[in-house]
């Protein structure tokens, strides 16, 4: 996976994020405060800004995106996405075979988000989505799949996990008072992950 390709794929993901803003606001509104789309529009803007300035080197690029989001979109999801980029940046430093590299990046992102947000799998958060993506990429590495194929499978995993969160009853926090409000709707953060991975996979596939 070279830098130009990464720029291309991330740009496509950012555009998809912008398009999905109203839907993300709507999903966040069922149990949250309805602003995930607002934050992700800002995140997408920052990603595109960094891509346009052209930072040299994959780890440097991911790091610059992470830092930019941490400074410029410091909300819950913004901070978590920033953490994910920063950890991915560190994890991919050594380089390596693309599918394994992807798997390493997402594993690092998952661990970073878990540490920062203190949510566990099953809490109906972004952690559920990242965990399934990480698992899928690990399996693809073991199976020796090409990275584009692995990415497509990971996107598939993200989509089905987002779907699955719709049936997860919020057991913690405010939403647990009125579980019926969230029930039936996928978690907003997991949907966001599914949207960006799907866009990335589609662009990678050409």
């Amino acid at each position: 996976m070279n830098e130009a390709l990464l720029v291309d794929v991330l740009g496509a993901a950012a555009s998809a994020l912008e398009d999905a803003a109203p839907e993300l606001n709507r999903l966040d509104g069922f149990a949250g405060d309805g602003d995930l789309g607002v934050t992700m529009t800002e995140v997408a803007r920052i990603v595109k800004e960094v891509l346009a300035t052209g930072v040299a080197g994959v780890p440097e690029l991911l790091g610059a995106i992470g830092t930019g989001i941490a400074r410029g979109a410091p909300s819950t999801s913004g901070t978590l996405v920033a953490t994910a980029f920063l950890r991915a940046s560190q994890a991919c430093g050594e380089g390596g075979e693309p599918t394994a590299l992807l798997a390493r990046c997402f594993e690092a992102a998952l661990e970073g988000v878990r540490a920062r947000g203190k949510a566990e799998p099953g809490d109906r958060t972004l952690v559920d989505g990242l965990a399934s993506v990480s698992t899928s990429l690990e399996a693809s590495t073991a199976d020796g799949l090409e990275w584009r194929e692995a990415l497509a499978k990971a996107a598939e995993a993200a989509r089905s996990t987002a779907q699955a969160t719709a049936a997860m009853e919020p057991k913690k926090g405010r939403a647990s008072w009125v579980p019926q409000r969230a029930l039936g709707h996928p978690d907003a953060g997991c949907s966001m992950l599914a949207i960006v991975l799907s866009a990335a996979a589609a662009r990678a596939a050409g």
Binding site: T39, A70, T79, R174
Partner: protein, 331 residues
């Protein structure tokens, strides 16, 4: 939209410019979207840093002053500030005795304050954290540590700020603030939504004549929605929920704070207070101090919240200590 603004994007920065122009002797800005007491750092005094989204004034910046907090990191409307801002605030207020991070429990804020704490500690500062978790509607009592922070935090600034001003150590300030926090509960009722300048549309819909008990200060769904009821009935329901988890009853002393969310006239807050007072007194609880007004708002949301804090002599003494901030002081 009925707003006195210019470009929505410039809202927070223009508001901050206005604050600094209005109160040049009391406040200064050591970094972008960071505001501290003009006399910070105070050598040997524990510094108190707070922060959170904009749109809640006087929360958070209004509590920067004497006997209160020393610095604030100012986020976008209803959005967390960055760890960078919190770190800048910490550097500007640290007088060598350590810094307490005191703010409301919102995941974005927690993550950014935690990250800032790691960075500040790496720079050699002592940092401790107390998070306001007073909103009983935001999680059941068994998950009390997951609750959000709302208007009750005003009383925590008072306790922590007075303790720090007296020259207490970092550990002492944290201990008494945590004790105050553990005896603090709040709950609110919303009567209308509010509109974010950048969005231009109400954050949620709440038809005229309806109320939502326990709604969050960003419009997060509450415990129940239904027809608007009389002030007396609202007071009883809020006090019931609050006192439930507080294990507070006959002979206990409390301080009460009735807070307006933005568009509710102070007259109505006093009508509400009248019944809150009655509900507490009828349980044999002794109301030792009361404040009624706007302490934590949600832009122009209509509604109110009630906060009750259990008192002991030490906490009462700290609540009574002098405090002054340019944004709170109408004189």
């Amino acid at each position: 939209m009925r707003k006195i603004i210019n470009q929505p994007k410039a809202f927070v920065d223009e508001m901050l410019e206005g604050v600094l122009l209005a109160h040049p002797g009391s406040l200064r800005s050591p970094a972008r979207r960071v505001v501290v007491r003009a006399d910070a750092p105070r050598h040997g005094k524990v510094g108190i840093v707070t922060g959170g989204g904009s749109g809640h004034l006087p929360l958070f910046m209004g509590y920067v002053g004497t006997g209160l907090a020393d610095g604030v990191a100012v986020g976008d409307v209803f959005a967390s500030p960055s760890a960078d801002q919190v770190l800048e605030a910490s550097r500007a207020v640290d007088g060598g005795a350590g810094v307490v991070y005191l703010y409301g429990n919102y995941s974005g804020d927690v993550m950014n304050f935690d990250l800032a704490a790691e960075l500040a500690i790496a720079e050699g500062m002592q940092v401790a954290t107390v998070v306001g978790t007073d909103d009983v509607a935001s999680a059941p009592e068994a998950q009390a540590e997951r609750r959000r922070g709302v208007a009750g935090i005003a009383m925590l600034y008072k306790v922590a700020g007075a303790g720090a001003e007296e020259g207490r150590s970092l550990a002492e300030v944290v201990t008494v603030t945590e004790r105050a926090s553990s005896g603090l509960r709040s709950m609110g009722v919303a009567l209308s939504p509010c509109t974010l300048p950048a969005a231009g549309e109400p954050t949620f819909s709440l038809p005229d004549g309806q109320m939502e008990i326990g709604m969050g200060i960003h419009g997060e769904p509450g415990v129940s929605r239904g027809p608007l009821r009389p002030a007396a009935a609202i007071a009883v329901e809020l006090v019931d929920h609050i006192v439930d988890g507080l294990s507070c009853g006959r002979g206990d002393d409390v301080a009460v704070l009735v807070n307006g969310l933005g568009a509710t006239p102070v007259e109505e807050l006093y009508v509400l207070y009248r019944s809150v007072h009655g509900a507490l007194v009828s349980r044999g609880i002794d109301v030792r101090r009361a404040w009624v007004g706007e302490f934590a708002t949600s832009l122009e949301m209509a509604g109110a919240s009630v906060s009750v804090m259990r008192l002991d002599d030490e906490i009462l003494g700290l609540l009574d200590a002098p405090a002054r901030s340019p944004l709170l002081a109408r004189w």
